[in-house]
């Protein structure tokens, strides 16, 4: 009996290896509401199921993506790819997606819509959903079939959701597709650059909504020069007003700490090198450059510039430890609560007050500070 149990014990680890665990499938049932039908493709003689499963597990272990921040349709697509083990079949599925993508109107094939860092030509377009003004929709095209497939994944997975949701999608989700191992690094960079461009364009729309609601100003027509102010505004709106802190903060931190040069592609270095993935890591790595004392620096800066009557700076990074935006910055200092009471805020709208604070803390934002929750009042309001 004991020998049997010991031999069972001997066997069980192996068994665990051969059957893939799927902890990342969404727990609630989902519906295949996407327009793409998935057909089981005949197994190719080149398939190596065991090897594919092992690689599958490796990716799952590597990917620490919080599925809950991903829009449901994207989760479906991810699940779909996870049920396909063979790389060749994954590619066929990818090509299927690409074939579903309607061609982009040639007038949108401009530099403004071009994704940099791609070996092939890729264009991405974002526009407001006709039925739901808070939601953004996408169109994309590419002269490379595989890249078009990747673009299709993003278009189908992200269209129809609010810009905040789109902007919160962490690039790391691509690991979950299991395509990463099957794609060359340069293609992955293209994928990430596509995602970032889509996120940036989504935020442009969101900021226009924010502007018109808060300032009563007519919407700007998606001009890129408006992007710089617009995004900071919307960031303030989201982070200043909402009290629930979710993983979305970290993405905005990344977005705002990138170089806003006012042209269509703020991620300048990303595009030129084509190393989208490395740069994403780079943002996280650079946050390690904060030597500590950020709280002090924030205090000093705000005290010097705003001469506040009241000032509270609270480091709440521990509340965010462990999620994608914080990873790589183990010593905290990524998320702060600010309460500032100052005469400098008089006559300024809420949005302008937040923008003032953000402008003062630009350096911090670019060196690892991910998000601020700002309570900005004048002495008479406090």
């Amino acid at each position: 009996m004991s020998s049997l149990s010991s031999s069972l014990r001997l066997f069980s680890p192996k068994l665990r290896q051969t059957f893939p665990k799927s902890p990342f499938l969404p727990s609630k049932p989902f519906f295949f509401s996407s327009p793409i039908s998935f057909q089981r493709l005949p197994r190719s003689p080149l398939s190596e199921p065991l090897r594919a499963q092992q690689q599958h597990q490796r990716q799952q272990r590597e990917a620490e993506v919080d599925l809950s921040v991903l829009p449901p349709r994207l989760q479906e697509i991810i699940a779909l790819f996870q049920t396909v083990a063979e790389p060749k079949a994954k590619y066929q599925q990818l090509l299927h997606y690409g074939a579903q993508l309607p061609p982009l109107d040639p007038r949108f094939k401009t530099d403004d819509h071009r994704v940099r860092g791609c070996v092939s030509q890729v264009w991405v377009r974002a526009f407001r959903d006709a039925d739901d003004h808070a939601a953004v929709r996408f169109e994309a095209d590419s002269d490379s079939a595989l890249t078009k497939g990747l673009a299709a994944l993003l278009v189908f997975g992200l269209s129809g959701y609010p810009a905040t949701v789109v902007a919160s999608v962490p690039p790391g989700f691509v690991h979950l597709l299991g395509l990463q191992q099957s794609l060359t690094p340069s293609r992955n960079n293209g994928f990430l650059n596509m995602l970032k461009l889509m996120q940036q364009k989504a935020l442009q729309f969101y900021s226009e909504v924010g502007d018109s609601e808060i300032n009563g100003v007519s919407e700007s027509k998606g001009s890129n020069s408006g992007a710089k102010d617009g995004v900071l505004d919307d960031k303030n709106t989201i982070l200043g007003e909402k009290t629930d802190k979710t993983g979305k903060d970290s993405i905005f931190g990344e977005v705002s700490s990138a170089n806003w040069s006012g042209d269509s592609l703020p991620f300048g270095d990303l595009m030129v090198d084509g190393h989208g993935m490395n740069s994403a890591d780079g943002v996280q790595k650079s946050s390690n450059g904060g030597i500590g004392g950020r709280r002090e620096r924030i205090r000093q800066r705000l005290e010097r510039e705003l001469s506040p009557v009241e000032l509270e700076v609270e480091d709440i990074s521990y509340q965010h430890a462990g999620h994608a935006g914080v990873r790589g910055n183990g010593d905290g200092e990524t998320h702060f609560n600010l309460r500032v009471v100052s005469k400098e805020f008089e006559g300024k709208s809420l949005v302008k007050r937040h923008r003032l604070v953000y402008d003062l803390l630009q350096e911090e934002l670019q060196s690892g500070l991910h998000a601020l929750s700002i309570d900005a009042k004048t002495p008479s309001e406090a």
Binding site: L46, E48, R51, P87, K88, Y91, Q92, L95, H96, A99, V119, S120, Q121, D143, S144, A145, L146, T147, S182, L183, T184, S186, R187
Partner: protein, 485 residues
């Protein structure tokens, strides 16, 4: 003897057999490759037995050795064992490495030389008195001598070690160019130049007011030599030209170009990156003023390359980078400089890597550059014809002929399929490594009317079997994409 061949099992031919029976066009002993000696010793009995065996194999069905296998790829099969990196699997398939124009693989001899340097005598060169430094300096300078001998330069001091060919071109542009070019001067290039040969001259032209002129392609897709002759004038100060094109596979008549250029008083800088690894290059015969190449394309390590410059030219050139080694005396507000080549070798050089390059040159000389060139000519034709046979494949550059010899590379496109898609599936589904993109030749691609191309490039350790694998894989890949269109 013959009887034993009859009993040979009908299994796929393994290398020793094909080596044994390959017909020897130029049988001669190779002292540098001892393991080869026994096979290449002309042995009349063996040859006779071989040819008889071939006749046997044609008639007998039990021994499945197609005749082509016997005389194909002898150099490739022979040298393959020297390259450990080639014996691996990628994505579950045997690696077929066909991206040699981007970088070459290194034989164990070079790896050993690098290791030996760091293990036994790593020390800074030209600076110290102690034994280790003396040995390092000796080896480093010996590497310089080897490079000089490799290209038949008359003096080792005409060789300047740089980081790579790109840095060498920048050296000439900034040092020679800035002090010799002025407004109204012309720099003549071809549209097929590598970015490293174009961009430094653009930067220098901006600073000096000189201008760039480009020679276009003929309809055979070769740089137009007649147009080059027409564009040469007294205003031309330097001609920057490639020897072998990394995209078109064409070779230019450098001797003639140099003669014409010199007759109008223009200097010539030859980009020999794609020629030096594959053929005999003799700077005394070609007579360029400058010539550049990179170590990593010729079986040497990355991080080192060289500039060849005529000594009277180098002596007249101001420094490029400033620092240690290139100085004579340093005062507070000025310094005096060393003679070339030291004048252009600021700072601690890539010592181990230069020594590694020397070892690579030894290895290549051991095979013989002419032998490499002849073998690659076979590969080049085989690759070109195999590709040509695939429908909807468009190859760039000239067609090979009696007078036109192509390098062993093909840049191509498949109708309606993006080259990146081709390269991706070739890699992931077949383990075949090719390149896709503009190959650092955007002006060339623009003039061909394309945004990107795929490129397969071979070196002497590839063989026809690998070309066959590539062709089969390419056909499979094309089918994969066509089925979705």
């Amino acid at each position: 003897m013959m009887a034993s061949f009859c009993h040979f099992p009908a299994s796929p031919p393994h290398q020793s057999l094909s080596k044994l029976l390959s017909p020897l066009r130029r049988p001669r002993p190779h002292p540098f490759l001892p393991n080869v000696l026994c096979i290449f010793n002309p042995n009349r009995n063996r040859i006779r037995a071989g040819s008889q065996f071939r006749r046997l194999s044609l008639s007998s069905s039990s021994i499945a050795l197609p005749p082509e296998e016997l005389d194909s790829s002898s150099l490739g099969d022979l040298t393959r064992p020297d390259f450990p990196i080639l014996h691996q699997e990628v994505n579950g398939f045997n690696l077929v490495y066909l991206d040699n124009a981007a970088t070459s693989q290194k034989p164990t001899a070079v790896l050993k030389a690098l290791n030996k340097y760091y293990e036994s005598y790593n020390s800074n060169v030209h600076r110290a008195i102690h034994s280790l430094s003396a040995e390092a300096t000796d080896e480093y300078e010996q590497a310089r001598t080897k490079v000089a001998a490799f290209i038949n330069a008359s003096k080792p001091k005409e060789i300047v070690f740089t980081r790579n060919a790109t840095e060498a071109i920048n050296l000439v542009a900034y040092s020679w160019g800035l002090s010799n070019l002025r407004s109204g001067d012309e720099i003549l290039l071809t549209i097929a130049e590598h970015h490293s040969a174009i961009v430094p001259w653009q930067l220098v032209a901006q600073k000096t007011g000189a201008s760039l002129k480009f020679v276009g392609l003929t309809k055979e897709e070769v740089p137009d030599i007649e147009q080059l002759k027409e564009l040469l004038s007294v205003k031309t100060k330097i001609v920057v030209i490639h020897h072998v094109s990394n995209v078109l596979g064409s070779a230019l008549p450098i001797e003639d170009v140099v003669a014409w250029s010199h007759s109008v008083g223009a200097k010539v800088l030859v980009d020999a990156c794609q020629s030096i690894p594959h053929m005999v290059v003799d700077v005394q015969k070609l007579d360029p003023d400058f010539l550049v190449a990179s170590s990593h394309k010729m079986c040497g390590p990355t991080g080192v390359g060289f500039l060849y410059g005529k000594s009277e030219l180098l002596s007249a050139m101001p420094p490029f980078l400033g620092g240690g080694e290139m100085i004579a005396d340093v005062f507070q507000d000025y310094s005096t400089f060393a003679e070339p080549p030291s004048r252009f070798e600021a700072g601690t050089p890539a010592i181990g890597e230069a020594i590694g390059l020397g070892a690579a040159i030894d290895y290549l000389m051991g095979i013989g550059m002419q032998r490499i060139h002849d073998y690659e000519k076979e590969l080049a034709n085989y690759l070109y014809l195999s590709l040509l046979a695939i429908p909807n494949v468009r190859i760039y550059g000239p067609a090979p002929s009696e007078t036109v010899h192509r390098a062993s590379l093909c840049s191509f496109n498949v109708e309606n399929i993006h080259p990146t898609d081709i390269a991706t599936i070739l890699d992931k589904q077949h383990g075949v490594a090719i390149r896709s993109g503009h190959h650092c030749a955007q002006p060339l691609h623009r003039s061909l009317g394309i945004s990107a191309s795929a490129r397969a490039s071979l070196y002497f350790y590839n063989n026809k079997k690998e070309i066959d694998v590539f062709i089969r894989a390419l056909k499979d890949t094309i089918d994969f994409f066509i089925s979705f269109q």
